[in-house]
Amino acid sequence: MADAAFVPMTAVAKPLRDRRLITRGLDRCSLPVFSAWLAPWFVMLAVGLYATYLALRFGLNQTNMDNRFAFGLWIFLDLGVIALGAGAFFSGFLLYIMKLRELQAVINTAVILGFVCYSGAIAVLLVDVGQPLRAWFTFWHPNVHSMLTEVTFCISCYLAVLTLEYLPIVLKNRRLKQNASFLVFEWELHRLVPLLAGIGTLLSFFHQGSLGGLYGVLRGRPFAYRAGLGIWPTTFFLFILSAMAVGPSFLLLVLSAVEGITGKKLVAADVKMTLGKISGWLLIPYVLLKSVDTLVWLHSTSRQAGFRPWEYYCWKPFGFWVLLAEIVVCGFVPAILLIRRATRSRPWMLVLSAALACTGVLLNRFVLTIQTLALPTLAFDKFMVYYPNWQEFAVFGAVVAYAVIVYSLSYRYLPLFPQEKELNRVSRS
């Protein structure tokens, strides 16, 4: 009778082959399935690395960039991922400095996203410049008047900050933390994380802004040029605000995607809604300021440079719809959807709004990089067309693949989600 109480369950699943590397109590798919997931990303990475090799070996003639389109897909990629990766600094700021404790559930993902975004961006930059071995020149001969100098210094320091924030997460791996030195180093480093978060916030403010400043100071390109406060054009401030607004949205999108792919609940719904709420409330001032800035630019700044405003939008395919899409469809609309609890509490609405917000910021970066260069400046200039070639897409793809691989490995072998055990307790098999 006593034995009947303990009916043994047949083993429905064999233990994982790499169980010893995976945090106790967390379910992960089998190693062959995981390898099958990673395989296509490695292929994408390999193709991209080959394209990188071609560019480094033979020169940038391997791309479709030219003298009129000196910045192309890669610069757009850099600006885009840095804007999306802003969730790292902003979540860190909200958690460690503003003490918004519920973000503890998502901070690890935010840090990893930041790390892959910034390391990917720097890797692409090194391929994009004509002489990568001269990268240290900016540090030895800095031009303090150039926004690009500021960007270089800031993102180098910030990558160091992100590495120091990622390191403790890596050291929490089950196997690694058995080593007493690693464990203790991680513990001590984690005690200083608020200081790191503060430095990261300061650095991020400046480089997000300077990336905007890159375009805002171009008096030779009235499409991009903006007046501003002192040496800082309005794009400096708008970039900071848009990055802060879209960071939580991108984080939310990635979390939803990871939950969808893994079929697990990893983060409580109300934390995701909080991320959406933060995004929404930052998008509102951003959209308002951007609208004011656009009007001032079109009617005053641009006219002073001798450029008629609507002329910018008479070239196919950049019609007036670009402004509408950026400010209204992908700015105002997600802002309203995210600040209202009724819309925010529906998961698919939340994800859609976050996607729209991210699209809006990417569109903004695209417009300033590509449309700026496409538009004529001299009276006898033509409208320029540019399409990236396969090598440029391949390198872009390599960065995406790198991000997916690093995140997948982190997801499998590191305890990223403090709420995971709790949320998956009921659905055990």
């Binding site: 004509g130 002489q131 001269r134 900016t138 690009l148 171009l218 009276a379 006898f380 409208f383």
Partner: protein, 247 residues
């Protein structure tokens, strides 16, 4: 004793330019520009001076466009992260230092005149062509930006010649950029804009003279001149008839 400061500039008479391209060829020869490799198009070539064809109805004219040697808040100088560009105080020439250039191409984005060119390839000359190279000018490696520098090597040669004869200042006739020298119709007047008595100052003050995109405030030192009103209207973006596809 320090030399006088100069402001070298040009006035290009559009009515005299026949679009023959001799200036482009002379420039390429003087500055050791390598032949374009297979696969190069006109947007990837290095043409420190380039001829633009402009039309109005049935009429056509040619504008040689080169680095404007902007004097005020020079767009390319302020943006270079390595300080690989600077305005030389003595001559007013905007210098590009290819040895320091990282190849980030930010200056190319900044230049409204599209006067900067990137070395998309390693330069290579067919066998035997090395003997045509100008020994006074260093060729550039791939991955760096270059542009017109008013044949600075010729300025240095003139300064060496003046120093050789014990003079402080150069003889104006000794410093003539290659494009000016090659032009068959003498369309380009070159000289020191700081010298009130020079031809170039007189030509720049001609009522028919104009500069490109003056409202940007870059203060170019390259002037153009034409009797035709529609050519002068090309100074500003809003004045000309835009080429290319409209929405």
């Amino acid at each position: 004793m320090p030399r006088k400061t100069h402001r070298y500039g040009m006035v290009i008479d559009v009515d005299r330019c026949i679009g023959c391209g001799a200036c482009m060829i002379a420039c390429a020869a003087e500055n050791n520009v390598a032949p374009a490799p297979a696969g190069a198009n006109e947007r990837k070539g290095i043409t420190p001076v380039r001829i633009e064809r402009v039309t109005s109805g049935d009429e056509a004219r040619f504008l040689p466009v080169l680095c404007m040697q902007c004097e005020h808040e020079t767009p390319c100088v302020s943006v270079c992260p390595q300080q690989a560009v600077e305005v030389d105080r003595e001559s007013g020439i905007v210098f590009q230092m290819p040895q320091r250039c990282l190849g980030c191409r930010y200056c190319m984005t900044a230049c409204p005149y599209h006067a900067r060119y990137f070395n998309w390839w390693d330069p290579s000359w067919p066998a035997g062509m090395e003997s045509t190279l100008n020994p006074g000018v260093a060729p550039r490696m791939r991955g760096v930006v270059e542009k017109c520098n008013f044949c600075h090597a010729r300025l240095q040669a003139a300064q060496d010649k003046a120093a050789g004869s014990g003079k402080q200042e150069i003889d104006a006739a000794d410093y003539v950029p290659a494009c000016v020298e090659a032009c068959p119709t003498k369309a380009i007047t070159f000289g020191d804009l700081a010298d009130a008595a020079s031809d170039v100052v007189r030509a720049s003050r001609d009522g028919r003279a104009f500069r490109l995109l003056p409202k940007l405030g870059t203060e170019p030192k390259v002037y153009y001149r034409s009797e035709l009103g529609w050519v002068r209207e090309l100074a500003e973006r809003g004045g000309g008839s835009p080429e290319g596809g409209k929405a």
